[in-house]
């Protein structure tokens, strides 16, 4: 999806022949958009870095901070919220793994098995993206109602004595990871589907002709060829899941013990007005994500992502 589109070789070769003398036209086309992104994407990042070093203002009032060079802000937030950082990445990792397990067979069904039925295939893809058409927050609240103590799932599990009378489903790490998984499944399924849909089935046949069993053919032919989809799907799931704070919020699927980095940033920025702490947490989140994504992309060997 979005990530794969950055690897256009046709675009590059066309640009080689493009006339150079009209470069002022290129400037006119590029300048407004690039200036916009510089002003509202790059400057905010710089602004976050500066804010993260701010010191409390002389008045000592809530939300009053002056420019400073307080490295200790980072030490403070890591010692205060270290647990939240670990929890965020753990939840995001689990959600990514579950979404992958859920999505791969579905994407295989849509992209390979249903190829002979284009209408059914189109219907299936529409159903995968259907959750996008209904508000993200309402979807999550619907799960909260279904999994709540009065909901059908808890009632059934209580009746079967699989859930103790004091146990709940909502407000636990399970329901948060469940919500994250559900909400990001389409981001995982679509890129894998795109890879599998382009897969040349003659390679799979060749595997069979060379006496490979179905399992071996899958592991040595199909899976490696669909890897670019798996990589972009994982990134499209992991990054937003690590920064999410809706699922983990206690009015949604979370509780007091499930707060993630996003909840910490929200609380510090919007309620406590502790802007340096919120900014430092944002920088830490962004830095860890960039490192993890860099390592993951390098190890999976798909260079054509950016």
């Amino acid at each position: 999806m979005a990530f794969g589109a950055f690897a256009t070789t046709a675009a590059q070769s066309q640009a080689e022949d493009a006339p150079r003398r009209r470069s002022w036209v290129a400037l006119v086309l590029l300048l407004p958009g690039i200036a916009y992104l510089a002003l509202f994407f790059l400057v905010p990042l710089v602004s976050l870095v500066l804010t993260s070093f701010n010191a409390p203002g002389p008045s000592g009032a809530m939300g009053d901070y002056v420019p400073g060079f307080e490295w200790s802000n980072y030490v403070t937030v890591v010692s205060m919220y270290g647990e939240h950082i670990i929890r965020s990445f753990l939840y995001a990792l689990l959600a990514t793994a579950f979404a992958l397990l859920f999505s791969y067979p579905l994407a295989y069904l849509l992209g390979v098995r249903l190829r002979r039925f284009p209408l059914v295939q189109a219907l299936g893809v529409t159903l995968v993206i259907a959750p996008f058409f209904i508000s993200f927050l309402l979807r999550t609240l619907a799960w909260k109602a279904i999994l709540s103590d009065e909901g059908p799932v808890s009632t059934a599990l209580h009746a079967l004595s699989l859930l103790g009378s004091d146990d709940h489903i909502t407000g636990t790490p399970f329901s948060v990871v469940f919500g994250l998984t559900y909400n990001f499944i389409p981001f995982m399924t679509l890129p894998i589907y795109t890879s599998l849909e382009r897969l040349d089935l003659r390679y799979v046949e060749a595997g069979g002709d060379l006496y490979a069993g179905p399992v071996q053919t899958f592991l040595r032919v199909t899976l490696p060829l669909s890897l670019p989809g798996v990589v972009s799907g994982s990134l499209l799931t992991f990054i937003p899941a690590a920064g999410d704070y809706v699922n983990a919020s206690s009015t949604f699927l979370g509780g007091t013990g499930t707060q993630m980095v996003g909840n910490v940033i929200e609380a510090n920025f919007l309620s406590l007005q502790n802007y340096p702490a919120a900014a430092a947490m944002s920088i830490i989140l962004m830095a860890i994500i960039l490192v993890l994504v860099g390592v993951y992309v390098a190890r999976s060997g798909t260079k054509d992502l950016v």
Binding site: T8, A15, A38, L48, T51, P131, L137, A142, G262, I289
Partner: protein, 268 residues
């Protein structure tokens, strides 16, 4: 392989697919069904079928107002992002310039950043610059995260455009303006429309970035977030269900027209 094994191999995947789709659609069905619920104080337990919520959508004025606000923000941000993004997409494909890889990276990074960082960053910037939060800051923020998606969508279309068509126009003494409006723009239009729809959808459903930059300005997702603490009125379900059906119709119609065009091209 045993008969049971063969049966499983053949039908396990389709059965899984059906179950997976049911799972994906459960919360959607729930939201739609509860838009027809008779509500007393909360909309949690089922009390019976009614059409009242649909006929009196604006009984809760904040629901309707926040919905209208979301539409305005979505339309303005979509127009801005589509214009800025389309220009960048054309420049990236058609021109050779310095800082090309830098530009590509600048377009990629907003898509790879968690929303909470984008939202907090903008809020920190507005705070430092002393800009009051409101509809203006929300539109500025939404335009920002939509641009990259527009570029990605339109760029593929520009790359697939045959330059010979524009050359033919120039050979026939068309002015640059005529070439753009009569040849290039109509050919790019499907890509531009797709990009605009994507932008609108992203803007309409955005909560995290909006929450950091809206102040007291209310969008539809923000309304739901705030109302979730005391219970969502069924009117919110009505609006979400209506939006769901409209989006579904748009997608189905666009898929059918694409299929029809492909068939026509294959025949011609």
């Amino acid at each position: 392989m045993s008969a049971v094994g063969r049966f499983l191999g053949r039908f396990a995947l389709p059965v899984y697919g059906v179950l997976a789709f049911v799972f994906l659609l459960i919360p959607i069905a729930y939201t739609i069904v509860f838009s027809f619920n008779q509500v007393r104080r909360t909309n949690i337990a089922w009390r019976g079928f009614t059409l009242d919520n649909w006929t009196n959508v604006c009984d809760d004025p904040t629901v309707c107002q926040s919905f209208a606000n979301s539409i305005v923000v979505g339309v303005v941000a979509t127009v801005l992002a589509t214009a800025l993004g389309t220009a960048i997409a054309i420049a990236l494909v058609r021109f050779r310039f310095r800082f090309r890889s830098g530009t590509t990276l600048l377009l990629f990074l907003p898509m790879a950043s968690p929303e909470v960082v984008l939202g907090a960053g903008l809020a920190a910037e507005f705070l430092t610059a002393g800009v009051p939060k409101g509809i203006g800051t929300v539109i500025l923020a939404h335009t920002m995260f939509c641009i990259s998606f527009v570029v990605t969508t339109v760029r593929a279309r520009v790359a697939g455009l045959d330059p010979a068509l524009e050359e033919a126009g120039r050979d026939l003494y068309a002015s640059p303006g005529q070439v753009w409006w009569r040849i290039t723009f109509p050919l790019l239009l499907p890509g531009i429309v797709a990009a605009a729809l994507l932008s609108f959808a992203l803007s309409f459903d955005d909560f995290i970035i909006t929450n950091f930059n809206s102040g007291s300005f209310m969008t539809f997702p923000k309304y739901i977030y705030i109302a979730s603490a005391r219970g969502i009125p069924p009117q919110a379900n009505v609006i979400a269900s209506a939006v769901f059906f409209i989006a579904l119709i748009v997608v189905v119609v666009s898929q059918l027209t694409t299929a029809a065009r492909r068939k026509r091209l294959a025949r011609g």
